[in-house]
Amino acid sequence: MAHFDENARPFSHKWLNERLAIDTLKRVLSTEYWIPKNINFLWAMGMVLAATFGLLLISGIFLLMYYQPNTQLAFDSVNYTIMSEVGYGWLWRHIHGVGASVVFLIIYIHMFTGIYYGSYKKGRELIWLSGMLLFVLFSAEAFSGYMLPWGQMSYWAGMVITNLFSGGSLHANGLVEWIRGDYVPGQAFLNRFFMLHVLLVPLAIIGVIVLHFGTLRIPHVNNQDGEEIDFEEAAELYKAGKVKESKVIPFNPVFLSKDVFVMGVYFILFFYLVFYHFEFAMDPVNFDPADPLKTPTHIYPEWYFLWSYEVLRPFPTDPGLVAFGFAQVIFFLLPFLDRSPNVAPASRRGAFKFWFWALLIDMIVLTFMGKLPPEGIWSTIGLIAALTFIGLWIALPIITAKEKKL
């Protein structure tokens, strides 16, 4: 049994310390949580993501107070009640819409930073895996949220994506109906996606964010040169006042001060988009109410799903579904497909350097083609880009196994 000082005033520092170990917590999680000094602003993307998630959560709570998950009322509760009757409702909605789009931009930057600097290797595998899990959860969150305004794109995207579960020539229509709760998207469908969007998925996201932070604590974050730092030694040096010689800085307040500065720059961009350039995040087609009798001319997902959509689309149904499944899981396997012992920026890793830029450019090409109508030259380019994507991942273990140790 621990010792409790009976004379300690309730909620005094000592009282709390005996019960919660606040000093230890503060030390372990903030003032003596060591971050390498050799980093750039890309290392702030984690905090930028956390802040964006916060914005989505807060704006979402306000929207939730007025949204009606009913196929007859949903469209107008979003486009009329929230947009013109609720004070600043339009602001919350634009923050939510822009946030949902921008969060994926930052996720992709965050992911490609990790790939570029090799931050998924040698003890950091779980950071990568939990991060990828977050990517999947954010995708589910984005998709379920996209159903809620019950516009044309909500309805038809819901139709197309749930159709994928029929498994091509498996014709598992029973599974599709089970997921929809109906033969076509309807009230049951809207209700369950509403539940997923406002409860189950956000709960899972919050849990996995905690896990993601947890996986980071012991291996520590990587640095710009992939250098292996003796954190204990560097920390001693720092605590002894030799801040210049030490290779590390405490998370709080030194790293945090830079994070907050980067966040400030990011917020300027973010709110510029919210006030002056929100259209990119709110597809015009979704401002037509859902109409089961009228298929839109072009059905396409939001930009952040386009690359994986384009891995599906150029192939016949069954191979397409296999390729799509491949695209969904392959990023998880990155720490195990990269056979090189080197933790270093891609620029120093020989063939991997070309692999990195090829993957990035290929995914951008896939993204472009995913939105364009699949006709003529566009579908040919799409097919080549999809095959390149698969080829790049097959080549990865081979080229990294041949990589020389630095």
């Binding site: 000094k37 013109s84 500065f261 400030g264 917020f267 300027i268 006030f275 930009w303 472009f368």
Partner: protein, 301 residues
């Protein structure tokens, strides 16, 4: 320096991505239609000058179907009966002189179906000669009010086919304020009105092939360029559509657009007012954060 280089790379890739999925993709997905700025260049210029006095006499025939309320001439039938007779309620003609193009209107009177590009247009040719047509147009111009509000423009040009529920507009007029029975909650007047709208809409759908869409939020569902070229000539964007060319002038179109913006994007004024303040806040926030960062990292390098 290195950080700026990295920022540059991230920015370039982000902008390329944006260009590809937004401007480029949309330019490929939607066909490009060149408008003619509401000049109706396909219609020849009028060779004669109209005389408003002669026009007034000729326009007496119009009130067989239409009303001219500002001149004290009521419609012969109410909206629902009109729809039952013609498929759609003919418009009130009080302000058409202010909203519609002169040349368009004259040619319209000579051959409505051809000029509207709507095959089954209900109105028959209504002027015997170009001179008669010009006279009637001159008359409507002479009685046109100086100022037409955005809503009046919408009602005349669009409102008999297109509802606007965010402004409580139905094809047969504004939704009236009614009271429900306090004991039962039943609002018979509202139900009565709903029934009238329903009858009208069924007739309209028969006439047009489908119920023309509610335009409450069309301003956000279509691009500005699309709306402009579509209203100018519906066939240019949607070949085969039942929607007639209505012959608005540029100013008339601007009024209709102003109304659609008011109902579909009402937050615009407040957005423009709030935006700079929020951005200023974050500029100051970032500046202070920069100073904090500088003081924290002092002596670290």
């Amino acid at each position: 320096m290195k950080e700026l280089k990295i920022l540059g790379i991230v920015t370039v890739f982000t902008l390329i991505l944006y260009w590809g999925v937004e401007p480029f993709a949309h330019s490929q997905m939607h066909k490009h239609v060149e408008g003619d700025d509401f000049k109706y260049a396909d219609l020849p210029a009028l060779k004669v000058k109209g005389n408003a006095q002669n026009g007034q006499a000729l326009a007496a025939a119009c009130v067989g179907c239409h009303s001219i309320k500002t001149q004290g001439m009521a419609a012969p039938m109410d909206a629902v009966t009109s729809a039952q007779t013609y498929g759609v309620n003919p418009p009130d003609l009080s302000n058409i002189g202010a909203l519609l193009d002169e040349k368009f209107l004259a040619h319209f009177l000579l051959d409505p179906a051809k000029v509207t590009k709507s095959k089954h247009f209900a109105m028959p040719p209504s002027a015997g000669s170009e001179q008669d047509a010009a006279d009637i147009v001159a008359y409507f111009k002479s009685i046109a009010p100086k100022d037409v509000s955005p809503k009046e423009a919408y009602v005349t040009a669009c409102g008999r086919c297109h509802a606007n529920r965010y402004d409580h507009w139905t094809q047969i007029g504004d939704v009236p304020k009614t009271k429900s029975n306090i004991k039962t909650g039943v609002d018979l007047d509202a139900l009565e009105f709903k029934k009238k709208v329903g009858i009208y809409q069924n007739k309209l759908a028969d006439y047009m092939g489908k119920l023309p869409p509610d335009l409450s939020i069309i301003i956000r569902a279509r691009s500005e360029k699309f709306l402009e070229t579509f209203i100018e000539d519906p066939q240019s964007q949607l070949p085969g559509t039942a929607m007639p060319r209505v012959g608005l002038t540029k100013e008339g179109y601007e009024k209709v657009k102003a109304y659609l913006e008011k109902t579909g994007d009402p937050s615009k004024p407040l957005r423009e007012e709030t935006g700079p303040k929020v951005l200023l806040f974050f500029v100051i926030f970032t500046f202070l954060a920069f100073l904090w960062k500088k003081s924290m990292w002092k002596g670290h390098h």
